[in-house]
């Protein structure tokens, strides 16, 4: 629990939680602007998306599962459970994050082999910008989760890192259909 006066009438949200959700709102605006750019690019092109939607789906499943593990970790870091019980799910989620990045790397290789390189095509360019930016966020998330697995964190810290991780998952939930599932 973060220190709080509880002075403001009618407000009982903790400062940390409120601040984190506001931060996530800024992230929504940032990725949202990118989704807008993707939407416009899709309006201006025809034909199905050239990317491997099977690998994209696999990665979605990986992230959804990692989110489950993070939710379990948050559950287990509560006051009524023993110390260290959050460690295993945290490690698992971080490992799934790494797996996501590995799949992404394989996918980039295949894209390059197909000639889908950054530069000549607007939609492909946005694909690279969006997935790279998402990967940066994900990498930060992996570092956070792995770090928490090493120490004995406060429940509120696990919750905060968890919210961030779910958000990274959430971004992918929208990037997947936006980039991969374009009807022909």
């Amino acid at each position: 629990m973060t220190g709080r006066t509880g002075a403001g009438p009618g407000t009982t949200a903790s400062p940390g939680q409120l601040g984190l959700w506001l931060f996530l709102s800024t992230e929504v605006m940032m990725f949202g602007a990118l989704l807008l750019a993707i939407t416009l690019a899709r309006l201006g092109r025809s034909g199905a998306a050239p990317f491997d939607k099977g690998l994209g789906a696999a990665n979605t499943a990986i992230l959804l599962t990692s989110s489950l593990l993070v939710a379990v970790a948050v559950e287990r870091s509560g006051p009524c459970s023993g110390p260290g019980r959050a460690r295993l799910p945290l490690v698992g989620a971080a490992a799934l994050g790494v797996a996501f990045l590995a799949v992404k790397a394989v996918e980039y290789r295949a894209d390059f082999a197909k000639g889908l390189v950054p530069g000549p095509d607007l939609f492909v360019n946005l694909y690279y910008v969006a997935t790279a930016l998402h990967a940066v966020h994900l990498t930060i998330g992996v570092a956070l989760l792995a770090g928490l697995a090493l120490v004995r964190p406060q429940p509120s810290t696990v919750e905060a890192a968890g919210l961030y991780w779910h958000f990274v998952d959430l971004v992918w939930v929208f990037l997947y259909p936006a980039l991969y599932l374009v009807p022909g």
Partner: protein
């Protein structure tokens, strides 16, 4: 505690089912309706993650407001920009 865990697992299974649905539907020749379907499914997935995994369902109204603010203003950005792009002559 166990009930909570069961709830999380259920949501996870639902999410995977939705993923399967959106993946499967993408093979059907729906045209523009396919876009609507995949966007709708993404929104459903997001709603599950936000309310259950991120516990927004059980949060203070103020926190929900903070979370909704981004979505609200993003809608404005999208709507007014598209109002330009879609009506250019």
């Amino acid at each position: 505690m166990d009930r909570r865990l069961k709830g999380l697992l259920t949501v996870w299974l639902l999410l995977l089912a939705l993923l399967g649905a959106t993946f499967g539907l993408s093979f059907l020749p729906w045209g523009a309706w396919g876009n609507a379907a995949s966007l709708g499914i993404a929104a459903a997935k997001a709603a599950l993650i936000v309310t259950v995994f991120m516990r927004l369902g059980a949060s203070q109204p103020l926190v929900r407001l903070a979370a909704g603010a981004g979505l609200f203003w993003l809608t404005i950005l999208m709507a007014l920009t598209l109002a330009d792009v879609l009506t250019r002559v």
